[in-house]
């Protein structure tokens, strides 16, 4: 499946590359929210693993921009963050965040997200 990994931490990106490439997934990468939007404008649709705390556009701001620019369609968003509980900081985009992975997470947790949410990527509007 197509997965976009958005994280400013190179170690996180590389670790996920090692884990997910071995499973045969098509991987795309972005170092911050602006690069994420660029990938989406280029046509990426699939599962987005989105860090929250990033320079320039953080995770929540990135989702706001996705909504504003009409780039939500077909993308399942899973936040991927060390923040234990988002509190109410993300509730304004709650409709667009289908899952929340806390770092550090186990490979089986990641695989579970991919298997649970993969079928919803690219779903068609009625």
């Amino acid at each position: 499946m197509r997965i976009l990994i958005v994280d400013d931490d190179e170690d996180v990106r590389e670790t996920l590359r090692l884990v997910l490439e071995a499973k045969g997934h098509e991987l795309h990468f972005a170092e911050d929210g602006e690069q994420c939007l660029a990938r989406l404008k280029e046509g990426f649709r699939g599962l987005i693993l989105l860090d929250i705390m990033m320079p320039r556009l953080n995770g929540w701001e990135t989702i706001e921009k996705m909504v504003e620019l009409g780039l939500v369609q077909g993308n399942v968003i899973c936040m991927m963050t060390a923040v234990l509980d988002p509190g109410r900081t993300g509730e304004h985009v709650a409709s667009h965040v289908l899952h929340y992975l806390r770092k550090p997470f186990l490979e089986k947790e990641l695989q579970s997200v991919i298997s649970q949410y993969g079928s919803f990527c690219g779903g068609e509007t009625e």
């Binding site: 109410r88 993300g90 289908l98 899952h99």
Partner: protein, 188 residues
């Protein structure tokens, strides 16, 4: 004559798709209707409806305005419209601003319910961000419903259940397996 013998309203958000799958797997509730308000983007509507129907074994639909609620059926609120349940168990779609930042909102659906003699009601709040569902649970409790929320420790995000618990109107805090058993015991 009202065909409804019980009504369950389930509200969920972040983490809800997986929670609903576990909760409703092969459940077949024949003595109630189930209304689900899941926060989600519009393109998920149809695929989630199909997923719930396949997973639960119960017919699941995206209700239209004025639809009569039937037992043994799951109703999944559509993105972009609030879903109210009128006194005679008929759907009413409300095109309005988001409530708690979301549309449809759990609070709108739960708060639309009125006390019904002899018809058991159950309100459920599952994993999710924010506080949607808290006012709804308080209302449902006030009209005699059994109210339950998912154990916070088992939620992907516990904001919604914490807000519901804080109202003091929650009858039980249960993990998904226990909520599932409660549904089967009451409405199976």
């Amino acid at each position: 004559m009202n065909e409804i013998s019980g009504l369950v309203v389930i509200g969920s958000s972040t983490g809800g798709l997986a929670a609903l799958t576990e909760l409703l797997k092969s459940i077949r509730l024949s003595r109630c209707a189930v209304v689900i308000v899941q926060h989600m983007p519009e393109f998920i509507n149809e695929s989630l409806r199909a997923s719930i129907q396949q997973n639960s074994g119960m017919p699941c639909c995206l209700p239209l305005h004025g639809e009569k609620i039937k037992v043994g059926t799951v109703y999944l609120a559509r993105y972009g419209t609030h879903l109210e349940i009128e006194g005679h168990f008929q759907t009413r779609m409300i095109l309005n601003d988001p409530v708690n930042f979301v549309c449809p909102a759990v609070d709108v659906t739960m708060r639309s319910l009125v006390a019904t003699t002899g018809i058991p009601l159950m309100g459920v709040v599952l994993t999710g961000m924010g506080k949607d569902g808290a006012a709804g649970i308080r209302h449902m409790k006030s009209i005699g419903a059994f109210t339950v929320v998912q154990t916070p420790q088992t939620c992907v995000v516990a904001g919604m259940v914490a807000a519901a618990i804080a109202t003091g109107s929650v009858d039980a805090v249960m993990d998904l397996a226990m909520i599932r058993q409660e549904l089967i015991t009451r409405f199976g």
